[in-house]
């Protein structure tokens, strides 16, 4: 994925860093770059993620040094010093994180000298080098997450004494996972049902207090490859063990497995766990029963192509194949995962269904994705708003699961866990149904054409 890209869905490291910081309550990013970087992230990162909002101080309110020609020629550190000094006076926050763009990185500004000054003056300001040319949005998440964890002690008091039953969640990237809030909430709900305490670290009510507790957790849970380096760092530094999952759990089977893995690791009471799983099983089955009529009326057993980040694509494919009877044909993984990790998840996709090996691709270029879909012989696309054009051309339904989503609004929807899988079934069935109803309209239009009437 080193060449040019058509309609990239992965943006850059700076944008990944910004939206990760914005996901934490009370954390304020300070962009040290040219003026447009923040607005690019607003239009291309926030608004294109299920029409998300500016939030506490995002969009046009995001502090940014807006370096100009003068700073490009003479350096931008004094402009940054001024910007930091004034940001803490204007924007209320618990922590401020300076993130750099390509311009100040090429100029070579020493940002850590500036944040060191602020820290010495008693302001909670840390920094990270996050220029866009270093990588894409997922890399930006990985990078800033680890940077914040490393500097956490300088902006808050860390509680290091182990807190039994406390779990941190990593690997779900704010905005790039268009359902990040809902996904985190459902994972939290499930674990709390087992009597555990959960810091999702991002989203509602997750701020400096929860971040200060990170070292005290009994366990870290990682839901994609992008949270792995942080979990490793926390294991090395604070001795916190972690469980690394390749995908988000979707549906009864995977979520029950997930619950069992966690409870085994934490030695939870097996009876309580079994009882909880049984309760959720009955709940999900109750609703799945309700979808059977329409499922068979319209032959929901589609052969599908799925396009998205590794964790989401694998989680949703596992559910649709192993519990809902769909047939995987084409898998397109768009999140630039490392070479050795590719092989690892390719195996997972190939073993989804013994009788049908899908073809797995690792690309993020829209043109190439469309070319593959054209020859895939599929009757359902599961992807992003960028797949709208090809789904129209191929005349097959499209279910959205991945970034970007530009024409639907997401607040706390989730496809994760027990409840999320039911929402996924609602949405997928609705897509298929409205596609079938459109066929009726098309036939009606044909009937009205004088030429057809003449034949009839």
């Amino acid at each position: 994925m080193e060449e040019s890209i058509e309609a990239s869905r992965n943006s850059c490291a700076l944008h990944g860093a910004i939206q990760t910081i914005q996901g934490i309550e009370g954390f304020i990013p300070i962009i040290h770059s040219t003026a447009g970087c923040g607005i690019q992230q607003y239009l291309g990162g926030i608004k294109s993620s299920g029409c998300s909002g500016s939030g506490y101080s995002g969009g046009f309110a995001i502090p940014s040094s807006n370096v100009a020609e003068k700073q490009v020629i003479f350096g931008g550190t004094s402009r940054l010093r001024e910007q930091i000094k004034n940001t803490v006076k204007v924007i209320k926050g618990d922590a401020y994180v300076v993130v750099t763009g390509c311009t100040t990185e090429l100029v070579g500004d020493d940002i850590f000298a500036m944040t060191k000054e602020s820290l010495e003056q008693g302001y909670p300001v840390i920094a990270a080098n996050t220029p866009g040319f270093k990588g894409q949005v997922h890399f930006g998440y990985e990078l800033i997450l680890k940077s914040i964890l490393k500097q956490l002690g300088s902006i808050t008091t860390l509680s290091t004494e182990k807190n039994k039953g406390l779990i941190n969640i990593f690997g779900i990237i704010p905005q790039q996972d268009i359902y990040w809030r809902g996904n985190l909430e459902e994972i939290k709900r499930i674990l709390e049902s087992l009597g555990l305490k959960v810091n999702t670290l991002f989203g509602n009510d997750q701020g400096i207090k929860e971040w200060g507790q990170i070292p005290s957790a009994e366990l870290n849970l990682v839901f994609s490859t992008w949270g792995l380096t942080s979990a490793q760092y926390l294991e090395e530094t604070y001795g916190t063990p972690f469980i690394s999952l390749n995908n988000i759990p979707v549906g009864f089977k995977d979520t029950a497995d997930f619950v069992e893995i966690v409870s085994a690791k934490l030695n939870l009471n097996q009876d309580t766990v079994n009882e909880y799983i049984k309760k959720e099983e009955k709940y999900t089955n109750y609703y799945i029963d309700n979808i059977l009529d329409i499922y068979f009326d319209y032959n929901f057993q589609k052969e599908f192509a799925i396009i998205g980040d590794s964790s989401t694509a694998l989680g949703i494919s596992r559910f649709l194949v192993k519990s809902f009877g769909l047939i995987p044909k084409t898998i397109i993984i768009t999140d630039n995962v490392a070479e050795d990790y590719r092989q690892k998840i390719e195996v997972e996709f190939l073993s989804l269904l013994p009788s049908e090996e899908p073809t797995v691709y690792f690309i993020d270029d829209l043109g190439q994705i469309e070319d593959i879909l054209k020859i895939s012989n599929i009757d359902l696309i599961i992807g992003s708003s960028l797949e709208k054009r090809i789904s129209k051309n191929l005349n097959i339904p499209l279910q959205i699961i991945s970034f970007p989503l530009t024409d639907k609004v997401i607040l706390n929807k989730t496809y994760v866990g027990f409840k999320g899988s039911l929402t996924l079934l609602e949405d997928l069935s609705t897509e298929i149904l409205s596609f079938e109803k459109n066929k009726i309209i098309k036939v009606e239009n044909m009937m009205q054409s004088p030429f057809i009437n003449a034949i009839l």
Partner: protein, 471 residues
């Protein structure tokens, strides 16, 4: 051929003394403009705002048969996901420059992007949008574009944007027009049988554009519209038009002036057609030039009757209104607010310059000590101003509205509602009356105090962080 001879256009700051940071009395500003002694000010605290790369992208996304290649790191094309939704052109690439390319140069990636987009879409033209990384490294891209232009036999048009030389995004429109004009000057255009005028549209929403097209068609004019809803040919067709009008003549200034200077096509000096008087003025100027006065008078008097009730209602009487829009549009909207009985108590505009002198004079002459706020975004300053003057209504655009709404002020957004032309008046009156009728949502916001500012900020003067630039 003054403008066209330069490889790159001068920045708006150099060409028109454009400023992007100011808060103060309009009469002082007018004085400075008249003396050609406009002081550039900067902010010592700032928030992100549109840069020229975004306006370049937005302008180009209107041209249907072209491909846009952003030559830079991958995030520089992020807004493409947004613009490809609202424009007509959804075909965009990014050369995906990495750290290594910023040292070694990104030639091969640019070549790859050009060939890939050509093979896939066979576009009529390919635009190359430059970014800070390319500008800082002084990457020379014309060698590749010339070579491939010959090889592929299509037009490859580089836009020399850099994102840091100008502080005002409107500069991006000039860059686009300059590049396209240099490209069209060698084009042969067949003379048309019919007469037509150019209509430049850059930032208007679809409702507004539709309304104005209908209005000009109703007086019998043929239109050549660009860059919104255009093909690349519309730019060469422009060279044979009788006149040029821009819906927003500030945004369209560069191309209008260029057509006038280089091709003797008069650029009609119009104000954005919002409100009855300004729409009538707009139509009168165009009809005067095109000899369609009778038709225009007829349309105007028809609408005078139709709109009588709307104006009699005076739905904005006793209401204080704040406007955040580009100056020329803001003044036109002010006239409409006044026609509906309201009072404009403050304006924020992203920039102001020589072209806005008339607008400033209008403000000076119609009000006492009117203060103008020049800022693109910077909601922290605007929030401070709004907290002082507590308007009854706020009129603004995408991304800026919510900050006013969070202060409990009813908001009318012009992002999707059309307000231009005669029919725009009733549409505007309708959204205004709804905003004033039910304030439950904005009241909820103000009660919940969702503003991100340190409370002492509102005690400071709103221009606290605006300083004169030290060279």
């Amino acid at each position: 051929m003054d403008l066209l001879e330069q490889k790159n256009p001068k920045t708006r700051e150099k060409r028109l003394d454009t400023i992007s940071a100011f808060l103060g009395d309009v009469s002082n500003l007018i004085e400075d403009i008249e003396k050609h002694d406009v002081k550039q000010r900067i902010r010592t605290f700032s928030q992100s705002y549109y840069d020229e790369i975004l306006t370049v992208f937005q302008a180009l996304s209107g041209i249907k048969d072209a491909v846009i290649i952003v030559h830079g790191p991958v995030g520089c094309a992020a807004s493409g996901l947004h613009y490809s939704q609202i424009g007509r052109n959804s075909r965009f690439y990014v050369t995906n420059l990495k750290e290594r390319d910023s040292i070694m140069g990104g030639d091969s990636k640019l070549r790859h992007a050009i060939l890939a987009s050509y093979n896939r879409y066979k576009p009529s033209a390919i635009f190359i949008v430059s970014t800070p990384v390319v500008a800082i490294n002084n990457d020379e891209i014309t060698a590749i574009t010339r070579e491939l232009e010959g090889e592929l036999n299509i037009d490859i048009i580089p836009i020399s944007s850099d994102g840091f030389k100008s502080r005002t995004a409107i500069n991006g429109y000039d860059l686009v027009f300059h590049a396209i004009a240099r490209y069209t000057r060698n084009k042969k255009v067949a003379a048309s049988q019919e007469k037509y005028i150019n209509l430049i549209s850059l930032s208007e929403n679809k409702d507004d554009l539709k309304e104005l097209i209908n209005l000009l068609k109703s007086i019998g004019l043929n239109l050549n519209i660009f860059p919104q809803f255009s093909n690349i040919d519309n730019f060469s067709i422009a060279l044979k038009a009788d006149f040029t009008a821009a819906i927003n003549s500030n945004e369209g200034n560069y191309f209008g002036q260029l057509l006038e200077e280089s091709y003797n096509i008069p650029f009609l000096k119009t104000k954005p057609p919002v409100g009855f008087q300004r729409t009538a003025d707009w139509l009168n100027i165009i009809s005067e030039a095109t000899g369609t006065n009778d038709e225009a008078s007829k349309v105007i008097s028809e609408f005078k009757v139709i709109l009588k009730n709307t104006f009699n209602e005076k739905i904005l009487s006793d209401k204080k209104v704040y406007i955040n829009l580009p100056a020329s549009v803001a003044i036109s909207v002010s006239t409409l607010v006044e026609e509906l009985g309201g009072e404009v108590v403050g304006i924020t505009t992203p920039n102001i310059d020589d072209l806005g002198k008339d607008d400033l004079l209008y403000l000076k002459n119609s009000r006492n000590n009117f203060k103008l706020h020049v800022a693109d975004g910077q909601p922290f300053e605007e929030g401070n101003i709004l907290n002082r003057i507590k308007p009854d209504l706020y009129i603004g655009n995408l991304g800026k509205n919510i900050w006013a709404a969070r202060q409990g002020i009813p908001v009318v957004s012009l992002n999707s509602t059309g307000i231009y032309g005669f029919n725009g008046i009733t549409k505007f009156a309708h959204v205004v009356s709804k905003a004033l009728k039910n304030k439950s949502l904005v009241n909820h916001f103000s009660e919940n105090k969702r503003l991100p500012y340190v409370y002492t900020w509102f005690n400071k003067s709103p221009n606290w962080y605006i300083k004169q630039e030290v060279k």
